[in-house]
């Protein structure tokens, strides 16, 4: 079956402006958008740039905008995209390096701000620290994040203000603040309780819709807002 792809192209070193280029290729049943991009890159146009690694929804490299929605190219079956031309663009809200390759630095800088690692002040335990199933349930979903960036780059608050921590960083903060083994909750809450942190979330839900891991990000941000407000009294 033949399918048409309309792909965003931009090489800041050569092109004055971004443009779209169409490719029509023969696709096989079961192909994902990443398979199609690979085909184009290998056999049609070697200048096409995009990120990929694991091709199995775990590395988070191939997040891009497909038919107007942020998703992972490797998770998106072509046959779920209807009949028309498939439009592929980079994640919005980040500087473009080339084609679908965006500069993820702003995203990771925001992540760094929330201290995305275990903090332990009491003496390190001799053996692994156990959690009860209930304790684990609190963070299980939030810990599934693969840091693909689909959520933060779908967030209008982030588009308007790149200083906003964004859903991915806030989710990471939640993941540690609500972890029974972590001891850095207080300092993390201090960091995210900021006008460019928690309070820039206006519950637009774009992040939750975009997340390829189906994490209910908005819910966890609301949990953090709740915690922050309770701590005021």
């Amino acid at each position: 079956m033949k399918r048409k792809f309309k792909i965003f192209r931009y090489d800041p070193e050569k092109d004055r402006k971004p443009y779209y280029k169409e490719y029509e290729i023969e696709i096989e049943d079961g192909w994902t958008v990443l398979d199609a991009l690979n085909y184009i890159h290998w056999y049609v146009d070697g200048t096409l740039a995009y990120r990929r690694a694991c091709r199995s929804e775990i590395c988070g490299s191939c997040a891009m905008r497909i038919n107007g929605k942020n998703r992972l190219a490797c998770k998106t079956q072509i046959k779920t995209l209807g009949k028309g031309t498939i439009k592929i663009e980079p994640l919005p809200g980040l500087p473009i390096i080339k084609d679908m390759v965006v500069d993820m630095d702003p995203f990771f800088r925001n992540l760094e701000k929330v201290k995305p690692y275990f903090i332990k002040y009491s003496p390190l335990p001799e053996e692994e620290q156990l959690q009860t199933p209930e304790e684990r349930d609190l963070i299980n979903e939030a810990a599934m994040c693969i840091l693909c960036g689909a959520c933060t780059t779908s967030c209008p608050s982030f588009w308007a203000n790149p200083d906003y921590l964004g859903p991915a960083a806030l989710l990471k903060a939640y993941r540690f603040i609500f972890d029974s083994r972590d001891e850095g909750g207080k300092e993390r809450l201090e960091i995210i309780n900021d006008r460019n942190g928690l309070w820039r979330c206006h519950a637009i839900f774009n992040c939750t819709e975009a997340c390829p891991k189906d994490i209910n990000i908005t819910y966890y941000i609301k949990k953090l807002q709740n915690l922050a407000v309770n701590n005021q009294f």
Partner: protein
Amino acid sequence: MIGSKSLVKRNKGAMAWFLQRLTAIYLFVFLIAHFVIMHFVGSGEVTYGTVAPRLSSPLWKAGDLLFLIFALYHGINGLWQVLEDYIRSRGLRLFLYSLLLTLAVILFTVGAVTIFSVKA
């Protein structure tokens, strides 16, 4: 893991967020009460004669004053949140902030004068 003890001291947006919701509840309840009282209780006639006695009672004056304060807070705070999203230059922010505050003071004065001057 942290408990719910008072850890956060500086106001960095948490209070504005909380008060926005608190005032919303009052506005909502007040609106419903207004609707019921104006349209379903009493004669349904809206004249000075029917409205003034109610508005001149101290209880109503207090409720109205609270409504005025909360509505202004809710509206101005909401507008400020939107502006803060999009306007990032310090100067322009300061200017708009003062503009909003001035607007709030003027509207409050007009509203308060109206509330206090009603006599049966």
